[in-house]
Symmetry: C2
Amino acid sequence: MRKELLKDIGEKELINRLGKFMPKNQVLDDCALIKTKNYNLLVNNDSLVENVHFNEISISPQDLGWKAVISNISDLLSSGSKKTVGITISLILPAKTEWVWVEELYKGINKALKQYGGVILGGDCSIGNAKMISITALGIQGELKLRRNACKPGEIILTTGIHGLSKLGFMIKSNINFDNNVSLNEKLISKSIEHFCRPQVNQNFLENLLKTRSNKKITRIGCTDSSDGLFQAVQDLAITSNCKAIINYEKIPRDKDWPKGKKWDEYYFFGGEDYELVFSLPKKWAKNLCKLDKNINEIGFFTNGKPSIEFKDHKKNKLLKNKPFKHF
Amino acid sequence: MRKELLKDIGEKELINRLGKFMPKNQVLDDCALIKTKNYNLLVNNDSLVENVHFNEISISPQDLGWKAVISNISDLLSSGSKKTVGITISLILPAKTEWVWVEELYKGINKALKQYGGVILGGDCSIGNAKMISITALGIQGELKLRRNACKPGEIILTTGIHGLSKLGFMIKSNINFDNNVSLNEKLISKSIEHFCRPQVNQNFLENLLKTRSNKKITRIGCTDSSDGLFQAVQDLAITSNCKAIINYEKIPRDKDWPKGKKWDEYYFFGGEDYELVFSLPKKWAKNLCKLDKNINEIGFFTNGKPSIEFKDHKKNKLLKNKPFKHF
C-alpha cells in the first residue's frame, strides 16, 4: 500500500514540505534572496506545463511567451524587485514542434521584456512528451522588502486590481460551458480574454508605495501575488504571517459587468492567474495609496487569531469551503 | 505541409537558433553571466526529463537528485565558477508521485550540495504527466574566465578524465544488450554504474589551473564540459572558437579494462553525461597541469582551419560520421 500520494496533499502542501530541506535562515517566499555586498538579488522560477497551465486551444505561443515572463515579473514585484536583471529560459518541446511555434513564443517573451525590463541571459532546451517553459528571473531588491510573512494584525488588506477575469478568459477561449443562464457583455468578454492571454503587472506599484509612506522606518511589508487566486494569496499571507484575515465581501472590486451568483463568486475568489498584488499596510498608508492609485482597493483587514480567512458577513463564509485553486 | 520540424534540426541546433533572441553582447555558453560591481555571477539551468534523461529502472531518486546538481555544478565549473552560491529547483511530478520519492530526490540534492557547496534557495512545483527536475544554479565567476569561444590555434586540447563509463553504466542499469561478445570485468561494471549514478566533478581544477599558469596575463581559457559527450564538447569548442581540432586517438585516456572495437569507440566518443571538462591551453601550461594532476590528459591540439574535428590517424575519421549525442 502506498504511504502517501501527492494526489492527496496537492502542490501547495508539497512546496511547504520541501521547505524542510532548505537552510534555516532561508524562508519560502515568492522569490529566493541572494545577499551580495552592493545589493541583494531576488531569484524566481516559474514553470508553465502543457495541459496543466495551458493548451493549444486556449493560448497562442506568442501569448504564452508573454505570460511566462509576466508570471515571473509578478513574483519578483511581489518581493519588492525594483529592476529585472534578466531571465534564463528552459524549454521542453516534443520532437514534432515547429520552429514557427518557438519563434512566436520568443516574440512574446521579448515583448514582455521590452515592456517590463530585463534581457534573455541564456537557456536550455530538451525533448519531452509535453511542452514546458520554465523561466528563472533575477531582479534587484528595492528599498521595501515585500514578504509573505510581514503582515501584522490591525493592517488593512489591499489588492491592485480585479480578480476572476483571467479564469473567465480561459473558459471562453477553451469553449468551456461556464453558465448557460448568463449572457455576457462584449466588453467583459474581450477584457477577460486580454487578462488571460496578456496579463499586465502594476509597474508603478513600488514607486507609489514609497511616495505614500509616512513612516520611513517601515521597510517590510506583507505581500504576495494572486497567481494562484485571491483566496490562496490571502491564505498564504495569513498562514505565513500568523494572523487572521477578515474580508469585506462588499468591498471586493468587481468588473462592472461581472455577473452575480455563487459560481461567479467562485471564479472570482479561486480563479487564479490574474497576477494582481495582495498586500497589507497600516491604515494611514493604505488610505494614501488608494487615493494615489485608483486601481488599488481595500478588501479587509488582519487581526489577531488563528491563521485563517473569514468574511465580515458570516453568511459568505460558505464560499471558503470551496476547493483551493487548481491551474485550469 | 510543415515548414520545419524540431525533429530535423535537433536540440543543439535549436539552442543555437535561439541565440538570435538574445542581446548582442550576450554570448551563448555553458552559463549566463551577470555583471555586478563586486563580482560577476554565473547562472546556469539544466533540466532532466523522465524517459529522455532518466527512467525509473535506470536510476534511483536519490542518485537522480545528486546527478541533477552535478550537471549544473559541472556547467558552472566549466565557466570558471569559484563558488556555488545556491540553486533553485523546479519540479514537475505526476499526481501519483509518492512523498518518499521526493524525499529521496532531495536527499541526493543535499548530499551533492554538501560535497560541492551551495544551498537550496527556493523552488516551485507543478503537476504534469512525466517527472522533470530543472535546477538553476548560481555561482561566482573566478579569476579565470572559461569560455567555449576562447580556444586558440596551437593550443593543446585536454580532458580531466575518462569518457564512456556513464553510458556503459546506463546500459548495464537498463539491461540494454550492448555487446554479447564481450565479458566485462567486475571492476569496470561497478565503476561504470558509479559514473552514471554518482558522477563527480574535479574540485581542484581551477586551483590547479591557477597554480600552473606561468603567464598571468592569460585570463580567458577555452573550456566546456562533456555532458553531451566528448565529441560534442570538442565540436562546440571548435565551432565557437572558429578553429580545427586534431584528436590523437592513441592519447585518449581509457579505463584499463575498456574493451576494444568500433562499438566501444562509439560509446566512448558519443556517450555523454561523464561531466569531465574539455579545454585547451598553451603547450607549457598544459604540460605543467598534467604533471600536477595525473587525471588530466592531452588528447590533441587546435589548429587553423575550418571549424571541425579530425583524427591524427585519418583511418579513425570514419568514427566521426556517427550521429551526435542523444541523451540515453
